[in-house]
């Protein structure tokens, strides 16, 4: 299958290993992966700030470059929700509406794609550690992804998954929210970190690097031994 990988800016710049692992995994499964260099962002920051015209400038570019493929796999649940759920709203009643709806129909978050599109749950990975899973809100509630990442983790050798009490509670990132309301965002993140640390896990795993960036940023300041890691990197471990 021809798979287009959508690597959002922060994964590209700060967490390249996540994208690299995804390429490796998809190629190992025999798919042809492409990654349009001209696309760096889905436009969500402007969209969430209420500036929809400006968001469309970014989204227009994404629509231009994400054509002619069987599936668009997104390296973050949040950007996936933007493409899949919010593009049709962003273009509602506008000339490119049909394009936005067509693209939305092809968009998959990475773990959802593996499990529910490709039917793969065992990637032969091995990761000797105790982990707890954080559900990114957009992946969980906009895209309805809950079981897929857990199914994938359940087949990783030597990995123990322990659920935290607040698995489905927001980590407090929320894009520009984290910068506009840092005190609330931080308090939410502290609740998340405490819940994750309470499991005694070595790692917080998620399918969304934006949440992990926030959680890791707080854990660093707390001097915690707990670390964050993206699901794709675990699935790519041997």
């Amino acid at each position: 299958m021809k798979v287009t990988l959508f690597i959002p800016c922060f994964v590209d710049a700060c967490f390249p290993d996540v994208g690299i692992s995804m390429v490796r995994i998809l190629e190992r499964l025999g798919h042809s992966v492409q990654c349009p260099e001209a696309v760096a962002c889905c436009g969500q920051p402007a969209f969430n700030s209420g500036y929809w015209d400006e968001a469309r400038r970014v989204a227009d570019n994404a629509l231009d470059h994400l054509r002619g493929t069987d599936a668009v796999v997104v390296a973050s649940g949040s950007c996936g929700a933007m493409l899949k759920v919010f593009y049709p709203q962003l273009y509602d009643g506008r000339p490119r509406s049909a394009e936005a709806v067509e693209l939305a129909g092809k968009v998959w978050e990475f773990s959802d794609f593996l499990v529910n599109r490709l039917g793969v749950t065992d990637l032969g990975a091995r990761f000797p550690a105790k982990v707890t899973f954080h559900d990114g809100c957009h992946g969980l509630r906009e895209l309805g992804i809950h079981a897929a990442p857990r199914q994938l983790l359940s087949h990783v050798r030597d990995l123990e998954l322990v659920e935290m009490d607040e698995a489905a509670t927001c980590c407090g990132f929320g894009g520009t929210f984290a910068a506009k309301f840092p005190m609330i965002s931080t308090a939410m993140g502290e609740v998340k970190c405490a819940s994750a640390a309470g499991t005694g896990a070595d790692y917080v795993v998620s399918n969304d690097s934006s949440c992990l960036m926030h959680v890791q940023g707080l854990l660093d300041r707390q001097g915690s031994a707990l670390k964050t890691i993206h699901l794709a990197r675990i699935l790519d471990s041997r």
Binding site: V18, V23, C137, C170, G217
Partner: protein, 464 residues
Amino acid sequence: MSTAAARFLDAAGSITRNLRHRGLIQTALRKYESARDRRKAAFHDWESARQAAAETKWEAINHLDEHLVSFADKLESRGTKVHWCGNGIEARDLIRTIIRDAGAKCVVKSKAMTAEEIHLNEALEKDGFEVVESDLGEFIVQLRKEPPYHIVFPAMHLTRDEISDLFEKELGSAPTREPEELTMIARRALRRKYVTADVGITGANFAIAETGMVSITENEGNARLTAALPRTMITLLGIEKVLPRMEDLALFLPMLATAGAGQAITGYNTLYSGPRQPGESDGPTEWHVVLLDNRRTELLADPEQRDALHCIRCGACLNVCPIFKNVGGHTYGTTYSGPVGSVITPHLRGLQDWKHLSGSSSLCGACTEACPVRIDLHHHLLQNRRNAASEKPSTLERLTWRLHAFLMNSPSLYHLAKECGRVFEPLRKATEGTVLDPVRSWTTTRTLPPVAPVSFKEWWRERR
């Protein structure tokens, strides 16, 4: 920045650092969540029940005129006086007149968020009437001269020790750590009031259109007493409270109780269809039902967010909201706090003054998931942000997002930005958290990951 927004930021800044407050609220709401989950599990099909409730309220709100006419006509045919008030001032003046005409001195009140909305108590107290809040939580916050902290649990921010101190100071009772003893102190203080009050004021949970009934939900029995003993009764409710039929309560009462408090059904659910009728032994001889618009029709005129009027004020969205759990109810500075408050307050009190509440959300969607009538709450927050920006865009912000679009759409500029990030990383690191740090709102409490030596796209290009 408007004053409401500045006050919000200020209050949020201090309360989020208050770990005692955080612990208290998190513990109380964890108890709620486990009780709610137990009750939800008893449903055959919670999700279908939500959909049916949403459809029933859709029907009620989208034919509001017909339902209200039926509701009012039925009530009037049995001797109830129905009043229609466009705003808070009209409603306050009307209620003051009713109370004055009744020759009343003491007014006993059961919980009514609509009364909070129009600041009824202040107005009545200014007129010299004694107003007694009879719901225990409301009674406590009234003694503290505070607004309710939560629309369902007004005093959830207080510990038993604080309440004991309050009662000792205000009522002269002996200190105690027993919630039961504290409740009995309030019971004894309020019992006299029911028997002697001239006027009783209640809110309402549902207005049944077909039969002309008001349905009031409560656990304590204080609303029952408020509606039984005083000779004049006043019920204040928003026009959005309608349900088409009495039988709809078979669905709505369990859903309200489950979503709101983790109960199978609330202790007392009482339907009132008139003042004392011929052959009855008690009840008020006069009943005034006051229907309040107060800009609800403006929300009604927005089809995109009209479903916010489906709200049954159960408080479920507050209970699951991580923003509410960290900033608490008073920080909002609104009558209706939490997600639904952030959605409707801009409509009820002005978009530009209250848009910060829609901004103050991570858009996690826990509220929408919890709402028993499926209001699309977190998406409405997004719509409020869009409406605020298109009504009155900020030049700076618009420019920022245009630059952002330009940068993101140009591979060479985007690449240059990453290079800049690498070059300036040592400088950024050195100034981190200081006034020179452009991202200090992030770095004050969190580390920022550096730009990787080889980005994904650089790796990809190299590889090909």
